[in-house]
Symmetry: none
Amino acid sequence: MQKTNRLLAIEKIIAEETISTQDELLRKLKGKGISCTQATLSRNLRQLGVGRMPDGEGGYKYILSENIRNVSASEVKLNIVPVIQAIVEAKGLMVIKTIPGNASNTAFFIDSAGRYEIAGTIAGDDTILIIPRDGITLQQVHTCLEIVLPGLHDQIKSKNHILNKIIRK
Amino acid sequence: MQKTNRLLAIEKIIAEETISTQDELLRKLKGKGISCTQATLSRNLRQLGVGRMPDGEGGYKYILSENIRNVSASEVKLNIVPVIQAIVEAKGLMVIKTIPGNASNTAFFIDSAGRYEIAGTIAGDDTILIIPRDGITLQQVHTCLEIVLPGLHDQIKSKNHILNKIIRK
DNA sequence: TGAAATAATGAATATATTTGCAAAGTAAAT
DNA sequence: ATTTACTTTGCAAATATATTCATTATTTCA
């Protein structure tokens, strides 16, 4: 899973730091023990949907496609703070607990992100089952969710411990 | 005002068409009687905040910075397509009809925007009552909602006429 | 108006990114 | 294990984009 790791690392770096050339990204990756050529990066960035925007200070920076909004008039966007209540791991799968009635919304949203880490999701009323692809660790799914829903883990951190006990009972 | 015209034309073209290289843009401009070199275009694009993203089909396209959003790490974002079904005016108030179970989500979101125009909201299961402040017209509330939920009115336009009849009956 | 300062531009060049192609790696099927 | 099909990768070359420098507008201000 050489490539998957690289893709995840690339996304993480671009989400966290300001990168302005592929060579710069190449060096950051090397610093994390991941090495490839700039040509490969170019291909990977395209696959990840990473683009490049002016940084407003005369330079450029790479940005994730998550940060692009589609101004297609057919979508309504909602920001809802405490939709996701808890995340639990079980049998190599991941269970997400939401507030009542919101599992399918949330699952739909996760599906829409089109992440390769996730083979599929099943949603009930307030519970979502996430099925990772073979070869994907739950840790990688966590990272993936954090990319799809930034701040997710911070948000549920406090509740998680308590709710785990309830859900697992 | 040679440059201003060019900048405006560039923005217009990029908003309306799919452009994948600066040379392509150069040709489009020439077609409109505006001519410059690629070097100038490069500088203009940076000034306008125009960036380049993968188009999802193996190519690239230029995009306006208007389409970039900033992810604050403390929010969870959901894209929900048809949450709001209809908007009806009555007695100087506004009634919003949502899909079942989503009134309170949506009302919470509207409240969170902290708009001056709105004195308060009351949500049932699939219906929200919006109470405008004294002196605020319903037209102003519409504008306000469009700001909070971009694309809202376009989305419900088709359904609105039919649903109005049902709700008002 | 007439310098002087500032901004805009093109031509050429430097830098950065993408791509064609062959080789190396992986997975699936026999 | 061996073949076959498919994916990933590096290298080198091709494109595309950004920048330097000299020159030409344009603005500012006395």
